[in-house]
Amino acid sequence: MSMLKVRDLNVHYGGIHALKGVSLDVPEGAIVTLIGANGAGKTTTLRAITGLAKATGGSIEFDGHDITSAPPHEIVRLGVSMAAEGRRIFYNLTVMENLMMGAYHRHDTAEVRKDLEWVTMLFPRLKERFGQKGGTLSGGEQQMLAVGRALMSRPKLLCLDEPSLGLAPMLVQEVFRVLSQIHDEGCTILLVEQNAKAALKIADYGYVLRGGTITMHGQGYELLTDESVRRAYLGE
C-alpha cells in the first residue's frame, strides 16, 4: 500500500518550470530516496508534498487524503513533517523550545513529553544543550536539532532534505544510524540526499530526478549497481 502517491506533479516558480510531471510512490514503512544533481528539483518535490510550494498540475495523495492544495499546517496534522534543507532552526529559541515547535499542533502533552525523551535519546547531544539558544549550536548540532524537531510531530512520513549536508563523516554516519533507528521504530522516510551512495544503501527504493522529471527508479541496490547512476551520481 502506498502511503504517499505523487502523480504527474508540476510546479512552476514564476516562469521556471521546476517539476515537469513527477510521479513517485512511498509505501508504508519504507525508506525511499530521491537523488539527483543540483537544481534537479528534489527540494521542490518535498516542498510541494509539504504544502510549501504550490502544485500547478498533478496530484498528491497521502494516507487516502488528497493534499495537492492543502495548506502546510493541515498536512503536518495528517502526519507529514519535514526537516528542511539548510537546517533552518529558530535561532532565538532554546533547543527545548525548538523541539517543542515541532509538536506545535499536538495537544497530547504526556505523549509529547515521551517523544521529547525519545528524541533526546536519539540525539544525546541535544539534551546537554537543552537551555541553549538554537543559534549557538554548531552546524552539526543544528542539523540534529532540525531532524529532532521534525520528529517531534511524531510523523507517519518524515521528509528529510539533505540531512547530512555539511557534516563531518563521523556525524554523517551518526545521522544515518539515527535514520535507520527511526525507520525500525516504524516511521516511513522520504530522503533527499547529495550523498547518493549512503542514501541508496539504506533505501528500499530510489528515484533519480533530472531536470524536473524522474529519469530512473528501482530498488536501492539496483540503482547502486547501475552503471549510469554510478557514473552520474556516485562519482565513480
Binding site: L52, P72, S81, E97, Y104, R149
Partner: protein
C-alpha cells in the same frame, strides 16, 4: 529558582510597591514632574505593544502613531462633555451618536478600552491584506495607513474637528490609571510572549518558512500579534488624549512612531521588560534634555537656545549605544525574578548569569 507561586507573590508585592511609589510621587512631586511621569507610563504602554509586533513577531510595522490616533480620537469623542462638543464643533455639527452623549468619569477605563478596540480594529484592517504577504509589505501598508489616518483627522471635520483638534477633554489620566494600564500591558504582553502563541510568533520571526513547515499557521500568529499591538497603541493614544486634554492631527504625527522605534531598538528588540524600562527612561531623559534647547550662559559665552538640539543629542546617544550595545540594552533577554533571585537572593549562587540573566524567555 522560585516556583510559579512565589513568582506571582513577588509580582503582586512589586506592583503594590509601584503604587506606593506612585502615591508618594503624586503627593510630594510637583505637577510638572508628574506630567512627565504619566507621559513616561503612556510611552511604556505604546512601546511594549509596539515591541510585540516588531520585536517578538518580527514584523516591521510603522503604524503605531495611526493606531494611537484612533484610540486618542475615540477617547476624546466618548469623554468630551456634550456642551463642550457643541462648543468645539461650531462650524459643522459632530456626527451622531457622539453628539448626544458622553461618558462620565467612572466610565473612563471603558473609554480607554474602547480606544484600544479602535486601534485593534485598525490593525485588523491593515493586517489582513498585508500580513498574508511575505516581506516588508507591512511596513509600507502601516506607513500608508497612518498617513491616511492623519489626512482623515485633518479633513473629516464632523468627527475630528480637523486641524483645530478637540479641546477640553477631561483630565482623568492620573498617575494611578496610567500605571495600572502600563502594568496590565506588561503582564498581558509577557504572558502572551511566553505562551505557545508567543513561541510561535518568535519562530515566525526567526524563520518564517521553517515555522510554516512546522505546521504553524503563520498568518494567524502575525495577525494576533499585530491586533494586540494595535490595541495597546489605541490604549496609549486614549490615555494621551486625556493627559493632554487635547487631540489634534499633529499630536499623532510620524515622529511618534519614530520615537517608539528608537525606544524598542534601544531596549533590545524582542524584550518586553527592556522596552518598558527604556520607554520610561527615554521620556524622562528627553525632558531632562530640554535644557540644551534653552539659552545657556557659561561665563562670558552666551549660547542661544537651539530648537532641535535634543534630537541631535539623542541621535548621538543612539549611535553610541548601537556601537557598544548592538543588540540593545537588553538584547532579547528579560528582567525576571529568576535573574533577581540568582543575583541578590542566594549568596552561594552568585555569579550565575550575566546581566540580565538569560531566562527561558527569548
Amino acid at each position: 529558582m522560585p516556583d510559579k507561586f512565589r513568582k506571582t507573590i513577588l509580582t503582586v508585592i512589586f506592583i503594590g510597591f509601584l503604587f506606593v511609589v506612585a502615591w508618594l510621587a503624586d503627593n510630594y512631586l510637583d505637577e510638572y514632574v508628574m506630567r512627565v511621569v504619566r507621559t513616561g507610563l503612556i510611552y511604556v504602554i505604546a512601546a511594549v505593544g509596539y515591541n510585540l509586533i516588531n520585536g517578538i513577531a518580527g514584523q516591521f510595522s510603522l503604524g503605531p502613531n495611526g493606531f494611537m490616533a484612533l484610540g486618542g480620537y475615540m477617547v476624546a469623542l466618548l469623554m468630551l462633555p456634550v456642551e463642550q462638543k457643541e462648543f468645539v464643533w461650531f462650524l459643522q455639527p459632530l456626527i451622531w451618536p457622539f453628539r448626544v452623549f458622553s461618558l462620565t468619569k467612572p466610565f473612563f477605563p471603558l473609554a480607554v478600552a474602547l480606544g484600544g478596540v479602535a486601534g485593534a480594529l485598525g490593525a485588523l484592517v491593515v493586517g489582513v491584506p498585508s500580513l498574508r504577504l511575505r516581506g516588508d509589505y507591512l511596513a509600507i501598508a502601516t506607513f500608508g495607513f497612518s498617513q491616511i489616518i492623519i489626512v482623515l483627522a485633518n479633513n473629516l471635520i464632523p468627527v475630528t474637528n480637523g486641524a483645530l483638534g478637540i479641546k477640553g477633554i477631561p483630565e482623568y489620566a492620573n498617575v494611578y490609571r496610567c500605571l495600572a494600564w502600563a502594568i496590565v500591558t506588561v503582564i498581558i504582553t509577557s504572558n502572551l510572549a511566553n505562551s505557545s502563541y508567543g513561541r510561535a510568533m518568535k519562530s515566525v520571526r526567526d524563520d518564517e518558512v521553517a515555522a510554516e513547515a512546522m505546521g504553524i499557521p503563520i498568518f494567524r500568529h502575525k495577525l494576533l500579534a499585530f491586533v494586540v499591538s494595535g490595541f495597546f497603541a489605541g490604549v496609549a493614544g486614549g490615555l494621551m488624549a486625556s493627559l493632554i486634554t487635547t487631540v489634534s492631527p499633529s499630536l499623532f504625527s510620524f515622529s511618534m512612531t519614530f520615537n517608539l522605534l528608537i525606544i524598542i531598538v534601544l531596549g533590545g528588540l524582542g524584550s518586553t521588560t527592556g522596552s518598558a524600562i527604556t520607554a520610561f527612561a527615554f521620556t524622562l531623559l528627553s525632558e531632562a534634555l530640554r535644557f540644551v534647547e534653552s539659552p545657556i550662559t557659561i561665563g562670558p559665552i552666551d549660547i542661544p537656545g537651539i530648537a532641535g538640539m535634543r534630537m541631535l543629542v539623542f541621535s548621538l546617544l543612539l549611535v553610541l549605544l548601537m556601537i557598544f550595545y548592538r543588540r540593545g540594552l537588553f538584547g532579547k533577554k528579560e528582567l525576571s525574578w529568576d535573574w533577581v533571585v540568582s543575583r541578590f537572593g542566594n549568596s552561594n549562587r552568585q555569579g550565575v548569569g550575566t546581566w540580565p540573566h538569560k531566562t527561558e524567555q527569548s
